[in-house]
């Protein structure tokens, strides 16, 4: 007789173990609820649990901050003691106030959502797809889709964004660096490390204006400092030798003033005519089309109104709801392979998606 080494299975063990296995797996599946910023499809970085947003390529933001802090630090440490003694105590006070304003404006520009439009849900995209005539086959790239609308009796073309799967509202543009459609897109600023759009344009403008004042102020004060030193019976070289930091500040301020003042002047013109950098560069409303009347349909034809609207108008809230929670049964578009509705022709489009993006971007540059 063979020794089978049969172990009788304990039915109680059987009944208990699947349940415990189930509860274990449900515990595993019950992850903590995720916030929407964690599944955001664009190329952005988030800090403080979604409260702050920055572009993935932060560009030279650390350099910008560093230059401002270093220059002001040198100013307060080396120039202010002399100037307070010889001129007035208000110099460091004004300098300090300007410095604080510049840094706050810069941080607000960098960390504020510029007006990112959330991507269309699959249902919306399918609905739009149904409304468009798709006459071409899927083997060749379909022409870029446009829709013409009338704004204030003027024809404006709306383009279809293949990444965000929607028709872009007027004045909206897709930033390829951040991979988002941004409302009232001005430009992507590497110095600030973020796009400049509807929600942070006023912060950007106050940043460059206050920075112009700050650089001019420091430049003037340093010139006054060196002049006063060399007037007290010493030569210019001796004065510079006593305060070498002033030369560093002079050089930084000299080169910054040209660019910052120029930029401030340019943006003041844009604000007064209610234009964006994007529209100005593309010449959308400059009347290149000959006899056709193409003024800016968004302008109020009054400089003061344009300025007030752009800088002091109401601020819409962030549309991407970074800190909201992802509903547990929602299908995340990037990760899922099967969405609610059958969309066979979308799979062919996804392959040429990248190409279409490039085509769309190059067309938008040349248009």
């Amino acid at each position: 007789m063979k020794n089978c080494e049969y172990q009788q299975i304990d039915p109680r063990a059987l009944s208990v173990s699947p349940l415990s296995a189930q509860s274990h797996t449900t515990e595993k599946k019950e992850q903590r609820p995720r916030r929407k910023w964690e599944v955001f499809p664009g190329k952005n970085r988030f800090f403080c649990d979604g409260r702050l947003i920055l572009a993935r390529q932060s560009g030279v933001l650390p350099l910008t901050l560093g230059l401002i802090v270093v220059t002001c630090g040198l100013f307060f440490a080396f120039d202010c003691p002399f100037l307070v003694k010889h001129l007035t105590v208000f110099i460091p006070v004004i300098g300090g106030a300007l410095f604080v304003f510049v840094v706050i404006s810069l941080l607000r520009t960098s960390f504020t959502d510029p007006g990112i439009l959330p991507r269309a849900t699959p249902d919306e995209a399918a609905d739009i797809e149904r409304q468009i005539d798709t006459s071409g086959s899927s083997t060749y790239r379909p022409p870029p889709r446009t829709k013409e609308i009338l704004i204030n009796q003027q024809v404006v073309k709306l383009k279809y964004c293949f990444t965000c799967k929607m028709f872009r509202p007027p004045r909206t543009s897709h930033c390829s660096l951040c991979d988002n459609c941004v409302e009232r897109f001005d430009h992507h600023c590497p110095w600030v490390g973020n796009c400049v759009g509807k929600r942070n344009y006023r912060f950007f403008y106050s940043f460059i204006i206050s920075l112009s004042f700050l650089t001019s102020f420091i430049f003037g004060c340093v010139i006054a400092h060196i002049t006063l030193r060399s007037q007290a019976g010493k030569s210019l070289v001796q004065a510079i030798q006593e305060s070498p930091a002033s030369v560093v500040e002079l050089v930084i301020c000299f080169f910054s003033i040209w660019s910052i003042l120029g930029l401030s002047g340019f943006h003041t013109y844009l604000v007064a005519s209610n234009l964006t950098t994007n529209e100005d560069i593309k010449g959308s409303w400059s009347g290149k089309r000959g006899a056709e009347e193409s003024g800016n349909p968004y302008s109020y034809n009054n400089i003061i109104t344009n300025c007030c609207v752009t800088l002091c108008g109401p601020v819409p809230p962030s549309l991407i709801d970074r800190r909201g929670f992802v509903p547990p049964d929602e299908v995340i578009p990037a990760a899922s392979s099967a969405s609610e509705m059958e969309l066979p022709h979308f799979s062919a489009k996804n392959d040429v998606n990248m190409e279409e993006n490039c085509q769309d971007f190059s067309l938008s540059c040349t248009a």
Partner: protein, 144 residues
């Protein structure tokens, strides 16, 4: 053949289709939705009720984006305090958005839910569309 329904079928009616009301850009970039009555809702809703809902929403958004003395004052105050005032205060826009959310909830309870429809707040769709979900008309007759 007896139909067996699970409890979930009664609690969550199936979505039949969704209608999207697009934005109307004829007056510029302000938030305004088209008042054209979609054909899919003809069997469920009065044209007049639909237009009234959309028109009220448009008026509320216009109120939020209104340019005037108070909005400029808010903007200037914010600029002078280096925008730190918004850490303790709500903007006028946010206040109106809360009003809109209450209005939509009210409309859903009174008009749309009894007809098997659901209005989604446009802010949840990035102010792009007003999404109206049409539920299957299975249980409405038996539930009444």
């Amino acid at each position: 053949m007896a139909e067996t329904h699970s409890l979930q079928d009664f609690q969550r009616p199936a979505v039949s289709s969704k209608v999207f009301i697009q934005r109307d850009y004829s007056s510029g970039t302000i938030c305004k939705f088209q008042t054209k009555f979609p054909s899919e809702l003809e069997s469920r809703l009065d044209k007049q009720q639909f237009e009234e809902t959309i028109q009220t929403l448009n008026n509320l958004y216009a109120e939020a984006e209104k340019l005037g003395g108070s909005s400029y004052l808010e903007g200037c105050l914010a600029c002078l305090t280096a925008y730190t005032v918004f850490l303790c205060m709500e903007t006028h826009y946010e206040k109106v958005l809360k009003k809109i959310a209450r209005y939509i909830k009210d409309q859903n309870e009174k008009i749309y839910a009894p007809r098997g429809l659901l209005l989604t707040d446009p802010i949840e769709r990035g102010l792009r569309v007003v999404e109206i979900t049409i539920f299957e008309d299975r249980n409405i007759g038996s539930a009444r």
